[in-house]
Symmetry: C2
Subunit: 242 residues, 2 copies
């Protein structure tokens, strides 16, 4: 574990040295693992075109209703789930990925195991870090959100969703892992489908939850590295029996 921690430290140092003033999503490979640097999306405060209702309720810590597009009747139609943007787009599952890439410039990464490196963790809530992850023939959406469920007490919520149906999602297990300073925190669960709502997953607390002090313990220079792995649930893992 110590070796791993040191490795991560070295990777983070390298990142900070090389990319200190470069503010975009960046992908590179380090120590055999794909590291994706993800910058925050702090759109609520700066985007003047936001839906006012969603903005107000989110700022008060009350989550907006999931399907805020009155015209959605087809259960396979997905509203844009890019959090906080309140994008009016809606479409079928098959075109969600291209919408997220083209309209919201969300990166998509390949590989069974990647490292998600969220920068600027100190930014005030609400803030999101979002990436797509292509793996095992499917696309997943990883959302890290800083939010004040209770006023004055920001927390970090991380979850992974399948860009697919709930039945397809049941075939997978995702793992999020933090590892630093001889401490390790690991969350494993079945991903939810994006047909459900990222906001409700987070308001239910059914995800990796970090309070500020834990987030600081696992951060290095304001960046939080989250190791991500996705497996199919049907592969029997003996370690999964604890």
């Amino acid at each position: 574990m110590l070796f791993f921690t040191q490795c991560f430290g070295a990777v983070l140092d390298l990142i900070h040295l090389r990319f200190q003033h470069y503010k975009a999503k960046r992908v590179f490979s380090a120590a055999g693992q794909l590291v994706c640097v993800v910058n925050p999306t702090h759109s609520l405060k700066y985007a003047p075109t936001l839906c006012a209702a969603v903005q107000t309720s989110t700022e008060q810590g009350i989550l907006p209703p999931c399907h805020h597009h009155d015209a959605v009747h087809d259960p396979q139609l997905v509203p844009c789930m890019c959090p906080l943007f309140s994008c009016p787009w809606e479409g079928h599952l098959e075109v969600v990925v291209s919408h997220l890439r083209q309209t919201h410039h969300i990166n998509i990464l390949q590989g069974a195991e990647i490292v998600f490196l969220a920068t600027d963790m100190h930014l005030p809530a609400p803030t999101d870090w979002i990436i797509m992850h292509s793996c095992l023939g499917h696309q997943f959406l990883l959302v890290l959100r800083k939010q004040e469920k209770y006023e004055g007490h920001p927390q970090f919520f991380a979850t992974m969703m399948l860009i697919g149906t709930p039945t397809q999602a049941d075939n997978f297990t995702y793992r999020l892992e933090l590892n630093r300073n001889q401490r390790r925190l690991k969350w494993e669960a079945t991903p939810r489908s994006v047909l459900e709502c990222v906001d409700s997953v987070i308001s239910d607390g059914d995800c990796l939850v970090l309070n500020t002090s834990l987030a600081q313990l696992f951060s290095d220079n304001g960046s939080l590295a989250i190791g991500i792995a996705i497996t199919t649930s049907k592969v029997h893992n003996p370690e999964a029996e604890m």
Copy 2:
């Protein structure tokens, strides 16, 4: 993982069926693992002999100073760390275990891997669940605490401390694991020494932290099962490199 979850469910059902009206610490073996049922200690509200200063500060969510016994000068002298009791006892490390057993009736369990089953998770904060764990030639203290760091928002904090010096503690790694409903949360860290203070570990948030919704997700009928394992840090574990 599903098999494990079902196993745990069966164990919990068995426990509730057989021990529903029996309110003491109970130890039995199920499915090859030692399961210890730990009842809560809710002493602050009912013990009239408490140190008033400690009681007040804890109720306000401000943690009491660690060494509240003015006469402590020998750094090897440990005040009684049985949380919330504010017991005036102090003594050397070698006699801490016998004090905790005899005066506070805290159980001690043997075995490398045990299951700590905390009952009555719904009780209001502050509440503690405490057990000692004898393993690898040393004794450890496991503390699960429900506490309102922020008024109205109780959280659960779990940590393991070595009844020994900080240097001895550095040789070990402890793991706390929750596993239920196809979700798994794992915390690994180096135990702290009881010469440090359980209160400061918890106020720093350097432990497994659960908010109420996560605790409910992992609980069954108001009981939370925590798998505990202790290893020596020097045994190289390939899985520890993630």
